[in-house]
């Protein structure tokens, strides 16, 4: 037992812990299900007339807006994952893990398992509510599967950002404090209107350079367009890219945090 232990066993055990922790904190989990749906209801109620604008890409505003719930849910997953990891640092639990032959990769992947489990349930709920309210994804059943996949991938990417921030700051409070900043990124995207219908130039520019717009548009395309290769490539590509960079950064931060020989 002098070397590193088997990666798969370590990942599965840490993933089990992460999932157990996630669902044993209903105070953190319930808002991640409810708040995105509440915001959806508010937006649809207040902006339904936007669907009458010439050039609006969907028949109903609900079809257009549903994609945003996945991003907001992913944001909750980010803060939950980050806060949990920061708590492990603050309580010394990370040191306990560091004293075992645990591989750094196992900790990160295991930690993100809770994010994936939560994102799967969130995506299923948002889709179920959307379909019950009358949304009919243009891409059909295969598209629904892709919507869930992209939702999970986005949550994973955001979760990796949360893990990186937790490892750098070691503070759950710092992660919570960053939540409003993340929220600004969501609102400065094409969440409420298609980019081509945004008339204020600076805002249209910001939404165009904000990667969150393309994550939303990837999911949205499967709901309102059908199979839009460009939107899907941009959505999946950016989610994978953000996730890869964030995971690499989190891995680097973990090595610094553990600082074990």
């Amino acid at each position: 037992m002098t070397g590193h232990g088997p990666l798969l066993l370590q990942v599965s055990q840490l993933a089990r812990r992460s999932v157990l922790r996630t669902f044993r904190q209903p105070i953190n989990v319930v808002p991640s299900f409810l708040f995105p749906l509440m915001l959806l209801a508010v937006n649809v109620g207040g902006l339904r007339a936007a669907a009458d604008l010439p050039g609006f890409p969907a028949d109903s505003y609900l079809d257009f807006a549903l994609a945003f719930t996945f991003l907001q849910g992913a944001l909750f997953a980010t803060t939950n994952a980050g806060t949990d990891l920061a708590r492990d640092i603050q309580t010394g639990f990370l040191n306990r893990l560091a004293l075992t032959p645990m591989r750094s990769a196992a900790l990160l992947l295991g930690q993100l398992a809770g994010v994936v489990a939560l994102a799967l349930l969130q995506a299923t709920l948002y889709l179920t509510v959307g379909i019950a309210a009358g949304v009919r994804p243009e891409s059909g059943v295969p598209g629904v599967v892709l919507i869930v996949l992209l939702g999970v991938l986005v949550a994973l990417a955001f979760g990796a950002i949360g893990a990186f921030l937790a490892l750098r700051t070691g503070s759950g409070e710092a992660i919570q404090a960053l939540f409003p900043l993340f929220f600004v990124f969501l609102f400065l995207s094409s969440m409420n209107l298609p980019r081509n219908l945004i008339e204020i130039e600076w805002f249209r520019t910001v939404t165009t350079i904000n990667p969150v717009s393309y994550l939303i548009e990837g999911i949205r395309s499967l709901i309102i367009t059908g199979w839009d290769a460009q939107a899907l490539l941009l959505g999946f590509g950016l989610a994978a890219g953000i996730g890869s960079v964030a995971l690499a950064a989190a891995g680097w931060a973990l090595r610094g945090r553990l600082a074990r020989s």
Binding site: H4, Q13, L14, R96, L99, P101, M102, R260
Partner: protein
């Protein structure tokens, strides 16, 4: 399980940001199967030393070998040989005791069947069988410390590091933990490196004690030999009338040198040892001085600390906080 290697350190030092030297070139030689008590006030450098010896913190200078492996270059081998219960029981309040043990044994690579048996054995050993499936957030401080110890023992380590294991525990829990640590060393030959700020703990449990202050070891030896160095007992007297403090001091100083004690009274180290106590009482009687309190103190480890540092161990570190190990 007895191992031919214990713990050795030479010139071990650790600096933190801001030029703080938490550990300043300590030398250690802990024999296999020995219980070594590392005694010192808060902020003395105890936890930083443990973090370096357990590979959680790279030394700034010096070398250390644990179980025969270099802590700076053979971290994996060191970690495989040691168990550690660090300051504050590092547990997940949302997991049960059994879940903690399953995770710990799995991370050490034990096969599933062995994990189950080992977890049950350890739960029984630390008396947590009934609470095994309760979340840790419902545990008392003593139960958490016992689980912490069980986790440190999950992979049957040859060397055990315990960082202030009884801080905050009630006497019953503390005694139970002492008994288990003593049993581990006696019956299983486990080498124990124990940091503490409690004199009694070091006195009762440790085969040898190292006293650390400001990052340096200021005294080392068996508790008996250290106290013998100090040698003579002291007597403390508090006058019945506060106005008699000065004449009382004059009388007592005939029997030995004054040492720090209660501000309400006078304490002197008796040149004539315990036998001088009767003479002290007679002298007070002759002078007509009445005392409300008269007590003979045998030398303690606190006296050793006092003699070596000029301060009493109790409260000596209240103004200091040992820097938390953080990545460089």
């Amino acid at each position: 399980m007895r191992d031919e290697h214990g713990i050795q350190a030479e010139g071990l030092a650790r600096d933190f940001k801001g030029g703080i030297r938490a550990v300043d070139g300590i030398e250690l030689a802990v024999a296999p199967g020995e219980i070594y008590g590392f005694l010192g006030p808060n902020g003395a450098g105890k936890s930083t030393t443990v973090h370096m010896l357990t590979t959680l913190l790279p030394p700034s200078a010096g070398t250390a070998r644990v179980a025969g492996f270099d802590v700076a270059h053979e971290g994996q081998q060191v970690r495989a040989a040691i168990g550690a219960a660090l300051q504050e029981a590092a547990l997940d309040p949302l997991l049960t005791g059994r879940e903690h043990l399953r995770l710990q044994t799995a991370l050490h690579g034990m096969p599933k069947a062995e994990r189950t048996v080992r977890s049950q054995t350890l739960l029984e050993r630390v008396g947590l069988t009934e609470a095994a499936d309760r979340k840790v957030k419902t545990y008392s401080g003593g139960m958490k410390r016992r689980l912490d110890l069980a986790l440190a023992l999950a992979h049957e380590p040859r060397i055990l590091f315990l960082d202030e294991p009884t801080t905050g525990l009630d006497p019953q829990s503390r005694n139970a933990l002492w008994a288990e640590v003593a049993r581990l060393a006696r019956d299983e030959g486990v080498t124990v490196f124990l940091t503490t700020q409690y004199l009694e703990e070091a006195d009762v449990l440790a085969d040898r004690v190292g006293i650390i202050d400001h990052g340096r070891i200021v005294a080392e030896g068996t508790p008996i030999s250290l106290k013998a160095e100090i040698g003579r007992p002291s007597v403390e007297a508090i006058p019945a009338a506060p106005a008699d403090l000065v004449p009382l001091a004059r009388v007592l100083e005939r029997f030995g040198e004054p040492v720090p004690g209660s501000p309400k009274g006078v304490t002197v180290r008796l040149d004539g040892g315990e036998d001088a106590l009767a003479d002290v009482v007679r002298a007070l009687d002759v002078e007509g001085l009445h005392v409300s309190h008269l007590q003979l103190h045998a030398p303690t480890l606190d006296d050793v600390f006092l003699a070596k540092t000029g301060r009493s161990l109790e409260g000596a570190g209240d103004e200091l906080e040992e820097p938390e190990p953080v990545p460089a």
